[in-house]
Point group: C2
Chain length 350, copies 2
């Protein structure tokens, strides 16, 4: 029986709606197993800018430090999107949160769910059976290097240290040991010095994991292989910018962003969020798919060591999918259930 404090950053757009369903499912889990989860709701993103002028108010960051884990819905608002030069933007809050909490590894499973095959842009035979796990470095590289303007130019510096590479590489190797024993490092070692360091460090670490086969792929080739033959991949390890691009690419080949969860972990903190965005067009309509958020909560349970509970949530999601208790992204509108109905059904199955 565990006692856990969970910071809930519902965020913008459909974030609050899907968070509510994840919390509902977590409450069902805690009742069933006798855990005590307390939920600490805090503003972040565009809604926090409206309220306080800051996408990540101190109080929110404080609550995240104090929490055992963080659930994040989604952040972002179109109002900021076409104004990248705006002084304050929702994404700044997210980047600051990652950096402040040291969430250096973004972990994303991409699985070709049977039920999604008709929705995949890929032909069934290409995607059926694909099952990969991304490890994207999240607090280094060009995202966090020095950036600025000089005269008529702009610059962004990309830096990686051996330490930054090694710590996420170890996580990825360990994950590969528990899966199919294959790790693919994606880089641009034929052009970038940082990529050459990534290869060096991974090559050095590799002998400690003799049961993991390592291969190396240039990022342009990886962008092709993900579509040509997604089944070839098991664990994919890559740096921040490449991971941003490739994990999003991989997500859509699976058929819907609406089922895919993610975890971002560091030495002490851990954050769980669906990979989809704030989907502002659907806000307040009770049509958003809550499953990615619920599966993110399942990853959190696993992170707490609650394997049985996590499995139960995943099985309950599978029941909903099998019985077609799903939102309109996965079924014709006349047969669709609402966000709340799907969440309630999954909580009920728990």
């Amino acid at each position: 029986v565990l006692n856990k404090r969970i910071a809930v950053l519902a965020g913008d757009g459909i974030g609050p709606e899907v968070c509510q369903e994840a919390v509902r499912v977590l409450k069902a889990v805690s009742e069933k197993f006798g855990h005590e989860f307390t939920f600490d709701r805090q503003p972040m993103g565009a809604c926090a800018i409206e309220a306080t002028g800051d996408p990540l108010p101190d109080q929110t960051l404080e609550a995240c430090y104090l929490a055992d884990a963080i659930l994040l819905g989604a952040i972002g608002d179109p109002k900021y999107d076409n104004n990248p030069a705006a002084k304050v933007r929702p994404e700044q809050g997210l980047l600051k949160l990652r950096k402040s909490l040291g969430l250096y590894a973004n972990i994303r499973p991409v699985t070709a769910y049977e039920v999604l095959l008709p929705y995949s842009p890929l032909k069934d035979a290409r995607i059926a059976g694909a099952d990969m796990l991304f490890f994207r470095e999240l607090t280094g590289g060009i995202y966090f290097g020095e950036k600025g303007r000089i005269a008529d130019s702009a610059y962004d510096h990309c830096t990686y240290s051996r330490f930054e590479i090694a710590r996420i590489a170890h996580l990825a190797f360990k994950a590969a040991q528990n899966r199919r024993g294959k790790l693919t490092l994606v880089d641009k070692a034929n052009v970038l010095e940082t990529s050459r360091l990534w290869r060096e460090v991974v090559q050095e670490i590799s002998p400690s994991y003799p049961d993991v086969a390592v291969d190396y792929l240039f990022v342009d080739n990886a962008a092709m292989q993900l579509i040509l033959n997604p089944k070839q991949f098991d664990v994919i390890l890559t740096e921040n910018m490449f991971g941003d691009i490739l994990s999003d690419e991989a997500s859509v080949i699976a058929g819907s962003l609406g089922l895919l969860p993610s975890a971002s972990v560091g030495e002490t903190a851990a954050l769980f969020e669906p990979i989809h965005g704030s989907y502002p067009q659907a806000k307040g309509k009770n049509i958003a798919n809550p499953i990615a958020m619920i599966l993110s909560a399942a990853m959190m349970l696993e992170h707490f060591g609650l394997q049985q509970e996590a499995d139960l949530v995943r099985r309950s999601v599978q029941v909903a999918l099998d019985k077609k208790i799903v939102t309109q992204d996965l079924t014709p509108p006349t047969l669709a259930y609402s966000t709340e109905q799907v969440g309630a059904f999954i909580a009920y199955c728990v």
Copy 2:
């Protein structure tokens, strides 16, 4: 009637075989129209390293300076691929060639050929009708910034000046005017300062092309949209690294790399090459598809102002496709023609 000197860098793997067919077609064109094309064959890539220790020998670079245009087959050899730290690599020759000749714009049409639809990893309805044109900046950004090691770290600097952005943006806007009037800038302006400069410059230039509608897409979203709905794109403009990844991604959705040409142009020089690589497994087997190389030669003819000649080559290629005079990548092996047969047929149609 024109007199043109063409440097031919056949390169490695299947490069020499496909180059030979492009030259064959160009000879047919020059005979028919009375032009005088002289071909100056020079080593580059892995073969040049073997011969001289240098992937881009001075004599080759010299020949390129003197030429009116350059045809490049393909470079690269697996022997160098898994050894990115090797002091001399074929890619260095390519990067040096681009920089020395100032080939700042890489232009890649990606078209969903009818005949390729069965080979596309995408479902037909997604890809049929897609027709986009990439403008990838080719001599700036993180490829050519300062790079190195400090203590336990490696770094790569990404820099762009207004001038570098503006010159390729103007090319892209002009191309959009002659197409469907839409230009999409792909960047990561929510994170990168260089991307914010790209947006600024494109926004400044945009009013000079009132007939072109501009939109902006973050690179992670672009990686998804290319697969979800490739038909939405007309001209895509982006920086060097993003262009490397996205144009390769886009190429595979079209069904085969074997049909897709590219041009790299600067103020004075111009280079034409297929987008496929050196495909070492097929080397010497007379099975490589020469069409991407032949269509690259057609882009060269257009660059010379020989529109009629370029159109004739393209129509001849279409005849080969329609009559299924194609290599084994596009037809069952028993019905396949050889590289030479396909080239000879297209030359004959000219």
